[in-house]
Symmetry: D2
Subunit: 229 residues, 4 copies
């Protein structure tokens, strides 16, 4: 198994990842991801993903706002609020990025959510509403830290195509230090929340949440792939 | 189009139904429904539906609890609370009903939610969290009043098979006066909420909610159907 | 200190109670309570309390509905839903009880919430929204188990007036086996939630919640007392 | 009555303000406010207010985060998120402002919430949870637009003391164009939400919310005043 890139050994992040190792691999090394690494992913699959990722980010922003509301301290609220604003900035870049792939802003905004997008995002929001800040952050983690790990896996992939890989810019975004330090910080925070919020005693429930999020991430990749003829 | 069986002419319920007439028909007369009416639905499809309907009801009960929390008055809270308890009673019957179809309670409880079940239920819960009691009830309505209308459509279907139709008990449940008066009351309440909570001014948003719920109901039938070989 | 009547030694309930012993005593043996025990409480104070208690119960019912929504399992949801319905039944009795004290139903329903009532109830609801089911139940506990303990303290009070005590019916309600077994069950459930939901690791936060609820209960008694000339 | 400074004539903001004119005046021209205008407010009253205002802002930030979660569109979410970040910046300034009044940051952070602070903030959060974005914004409005109007009333007050008024910096903050344009924008947004979200049909409920918020603002001023010997 790929070595866990984030969080302390024995910390909540690594334990959650280990508790659903198979599913985690299925998500982090989904055929969609391999296609990105090797530059073989059909363009329609990537474009489908890009548009749905936009719709995903809209709901992800709502989840960050919810996390700010539920934050356990003013300091945590500040962290969530600045995370929310960073995300909203990235979303502007996402639209520009879509344009580079021939998807006009109008086209993206017109699109409706795929079932896989509704499923994943509303499930996260409900975990957040029903539970506390730890439940919410565990539901969000597979996205945040997963994308970081995926970029590292791609970088370590012997079959990775660098030259002429149309998806190089995507890979660079998530392997860049900017994103990697963001993922590391998210894992650190989750480890800390695990200690302060009873991660040990709640492990069974948290692990079920983490695994379900990984399953829904898998389905999200698959939705992209299914768009290719 | 099938004549609207519930709510006052010009009231919110009927207006919502009309605003997405095609999708409403697609839901209320889905091939799954026709299969129930004509007794031709493959058994695996029905069993798949039954199990997922159980998992749906668990989340539906949570949505009713949320509606009680959000109710606009003590009287409304009482109505929601008694609705919740009626639902919890029906759920016990649902398990017994499953047993009659060869699905043991243990089997049902062991099952995991299909994506279509997660998608629909968490989307409803999120509409309820984000909006007010009217948003929540509009999101719930296609289930409540839809099942009543479906039973009436089946009853009016020339090709309906009565004798030896394995699904007769299902049809009877929803065409019985007990369920029909429940559906009528739900429509009346939604009409009243439409007046008191600005249904007219909010129609575009409410109609989008209603239509999305109908789309997710369709997907739920389809999920059942897809289980048949 | 009065011996802890509910929960297991070393369990979450008893530990929370011990962690704010002084404040707990201030609540459970508030001058208002002494006045009930000794039959010396001025009637206007009791009537003020009765009316505000009604308004409190309306919000308490909403908190129970929220707990049903947040419940960690279907079994827990069932428990919360039946608790909600029991509460709604008791509320009808509460109105009749008010009438026995010369407060007509119309009078009670016309009343507006005192600041102390708004303060306590909305704070509980927010703890419930922000946190998980354990946070919510800990915020509710001082009311539930507190009233049971108060009745026991009154019963053990050497200066208790039995004959001709106008508040005997109130005391009987809460010292009756019906309420006492309800309080015991609430403590048992909280002890269990403490184990499953990380009560140990979260103790500092939970204890702050419990102590704040006790403070707000104190203010509620005081609000009653302040109504006496 | 002071001429309404924000919102369009006949718009939701002005109608809400008119519907509770007396209470609105009681809030906007509370003895505390007069004391600010005339420079006669006892220092302990102002210091008490400053510290509790800090604790109020912490919860207000949570309410803004909740509004971002509930926002009716991505554009509205962006607006709320940037409002939240502006508020968090102002909170840093608030701490520095407190220091200028001899209240060290440590002192402020150590303070516990007054009942009036708990009451107002948790009530707003509950209105926001129970209702939709319009309910939440109406609950928040008396603070936002009220402070702007208060500054204008002070400016128009014949008895205003300018020279040597210790509270001149407070007055300047809220009469400055920065705050005034913020208040105008809030009123414009509320007018627009009134149109899109059924403000007309929901007026009775919204007006009750607005009036209750004004009552709780009054109690907040009074809490400050009560700190003076």
């Amino acid at each position: 198994m790929f070595p866990p890139p984030y969080g302390a050994p024995g910390g909540l992040t690594q334990r959650l990842r280990e508790s659903c190792a198979e599913r985690w691999d299925a998500y982090c090394w989904h055929p969609f991801v391999q296609g990105l690494a090797e530059g073989t992913l059909p363009l329609p699959a990537f474009r489908r993903y890009l548009v749905q990722d936009w719709l995903f980010l809209v709901q992800f922003a709502r989840a960050k706002a919810l996390a700010a509301f539920k934050a356990e301290s003013l300091e945590a609220l500040r962290g969530k609020a600045s995370g929310l604003n960073a995300l909203l900035d990235e979303m502007r870049m996402h639209l520009r990025y879509c344009e580079a792939w021939g998807l006009s802003e109008a086209e993206v905004l017109r699109e409706t959510e795929a079932p896989e997008t509704v499923c994943y995002t509303r499930w996260v929001l409900d975990r957040g509403m029903a539970g506390d800040i730890l439940d919410l952050e565990v539901a969000l983690a597979p996205c945040t830290i997963g994308y970081g790990e995926i970029a590292l896996r791609i970088a370590a992939h012997p079959g990775r195509r660098r030259q002429g890989n149309p998806y190089e810019s995507w890979i660079e975004t998530y392997s860049a230090e900017g994103y990697q330090s963001f993922a590391r910080a998210a894992a650190e925070r989750m480890d800390a929340l695990g200690l302060s919020h009873g991660g040990e005693a709640r492990f069974a429930a948290l692990s079920a949440t983490f695994a379900e999020a990984a399953r829904l991430e898998c389905a999200f990749w698959q939705m992209g792939l299914d768009a290719a003829p």
